[in-house]
Symmetry: C2
Subunit: 341 residues, 2 copies
DNA sequence: AACGTTGAGTACAACGATATAGAACCAACG
DNA sequence: CGTTGGTTCTATATCGTTGTACTCAACGTT
């Protein structure tokens, strides 16, 4: 069925090591020998057994990407870029869905094995302990640095970005600006940073921070965004703009505003965060902070590659990815388009 | 650093094989011996080396999922279910993005190696040759059967589902029903089936098929859906409903209708296909055909599992997954909600 | 007392690749 | 002519695990 080096060697009349040398591009092989071996390889359709190669070399050519879930658009888009960037380096990507609370176990159990050369981890919740199971596997963290663990990080400046988005709302003349996405759990590091940016922008503009305008969302998805918006609308605080901690919350909020018969941005302006594809076609299209996802993925793979070959003991690095504020219809209606929401 | 069976064995004062037996849950090990070994395993934080295990057992515990791209919502959602279903069987999932035309190469080159126990492949374009490179690796195809190759299939009845969606539009009293998503390329098998369903429904209702109402979309995504809709609107054919071959096309169409100032469903009713998450929160929410994605994923993993352990020569099976028509606002506005689109 | 049976454990050979050491050959040099 | 150095190739050990074959003791049966 499947052929081994030995079969190729016999067919070409050389030793296994010579075949191995040819396959790995070793220099000192006579042209005619090389040709004979290559012919045999082609004849038998030989493919190296990666398990064996990995066992010998201690490399697997596989990295893992751990994300909360592929059904979350941001992570799906990010995963796409990671897979692409990894492929360019000859790596395959194993996807692990940490999905909420069970991350702890999954990272330790499923992934800590020797199957992977490294791990790119996008943690919602993560403590230093969780990383212990990895025991030397190179690691790159995406998003908030949890603590100064032994890992490289790729981050964007969430605080500054959220401040920029909120300042944009303020620049439109809005004053009662709500926020959606607060999380009280210890895991909500990203939420805290973005809301700190929101608060900072208000402060800069001399607008008082009003706690009743800040709605929590235990998980960030459309349904919670809609629920939070409904809550804000019925609680009598009458916001004229909303900053949402991510685009799915914002899309949910758009939905709730629509159901309440309010116009966006006429009555309420909406800004999100992440620039997922949906927001470019939603009605209205969604103003958002667009992190450079391709860059994030590429930086992560690059950092990981550095750790994988050698260089394991240099101190952890932080890489910063750029972002842009992308105004769309949900805050700035185009002049010649009907603005019914 | 990393410990091996041998280290554990020395610490526990037994042979390597005994440790192996404990790790693998072999029955005949005395409780005290087992305890000693387990203690040693814990002390050293031992993890089996999967490469070595795989080499020995001929299994890797990894399957690959090849999809066009994770940025396509349907495939992202599907991938999530596949990863989950595979995890229940102890499999990890390697994601391969075939992304358009290069599939041929990728399948043959990247994946054909021994690293995976099996492959779940969701082909856009695929011929019998493309599968040749796999050379014995168990394979499950999602979606249209391309030909009666040596592979199991998981399908839904695209023709019947599309007919049902179109019949739904007809039942609303619409008569000038357009379709978006036609593809002339040989790869467009799914498009052809869905449009055949569309045509069948028209035929049943005694409505003449009008070619000018059928718009092509070389790739299925929001931008092309919007473009196709704009084309239909400007070409003077005045549709009162649109059946879209997938939800992203439909979301694009909603967008174009909105920009043209038309009301959905008042002026034009819209139906999609796939039931992606966005469609549940879009404005208006999207009527669609909802294939049971979890079921599809589960069936695929199950079929693959059967092939992987033994049973390689039984003839290919087809598994059919259920689907449901899910009417939402884009065809049937709720009584008490404003219907501005 | 001799027997097979079962439990508990060990030693060793695989799995298929690469690394190491060294053999055989050739050319060039003093 | 022996030595040195480079090229080309081979034999063999090795990576860490599991399957096979085996030993040895304890047990119940006849």
């Amino acid at each position: 069925m499947r052929h081994r080096l030995k079969d190729v060697a016999e067919r070409a009349g050389v030793s296994v090591k010579t075949v191995s040398n040819v396959v790995n591009g070793y220099q000192h092989v006579r042209p005619d020998t090389r040709a004979r071996v290559e012919q045999a390889v082609a004849d038998l359709n030989y493919r190296p057994n990666l398990s064996a190669r990995n066992l010998r070399k201690g490399r697997t050519g596989v990295i893992a990407l751990a994300v909360p879930g592929l059904d979350i658009p941001y992570f799906a888009e990010l995963a796409r870029h990671v897979v692409t960037a990894a492929a360019e380096r000859g790596w395959a990507v194993l996807i692990d869905q940490t999905g909420g609370g069970s991350e702890r176990e999954r990272v330790a159990a499923g992934i800590g094995d020797h199957l992977i050369d490294g791990l790119i981890f996008s943690p919602l919740a993560l403590t230093a302990e969780d990383l212990a199971g990895l025991d030397g596997t190179p690691l790159v963290l995406l998003g908030e640095r949890v603590d100064h663990g032994p890992a490289d990080h790729v981050v964007i400046d969430n605080l500054a970005a959220a401040r920029k988005a909120t300042a944009h709302l303020i620049s439109l003349g809005r004053r009662r600006i709500a926020a959606i996405g607060a999380q009280r759990t210890p895991e909500g590091a990203t939420a805290r940073l973005r809301l700190a940016g929101y608060a900072a922008a208000l402060d800069e503009a001399g607008i008082a921070y009003d706690e009743r305008l800040v709605a929590p969302a235990p998980a960030w998805h459309r349904a919670n965004g809609a629920a939070a918006m409904r809550h804000l609308l019925t609680s009598g605080v009458r916001p004229d703009a909303v900053f949402c901690c991510d685009d799915t919350l914002a899309l949910g909020a758009l939905r709730a505003l629509h159901e309440a018969g309010l116009r966006v941005p006429g009555d309420v302006a909406v800004a999100g965060f992440d620039d997922i594809e949906d927001g470019r076609f939603s009605i209205p299209t969604l103003t958002t902070i667009a992190p450079d996802k391709e860059r994030i993925a590429r930086l992560a793979v690059e950092l990981l590659a550095n750790r994988v070959d050698g260089d394991r003991r240099t101190p952890p690095r932080d890489a910063h990815a750029p972002y842009r504020l992308t105004p769309r219809e949900s805050t700035t209606p185009p002049a010649d388009t009907p603005t019914v929401s």
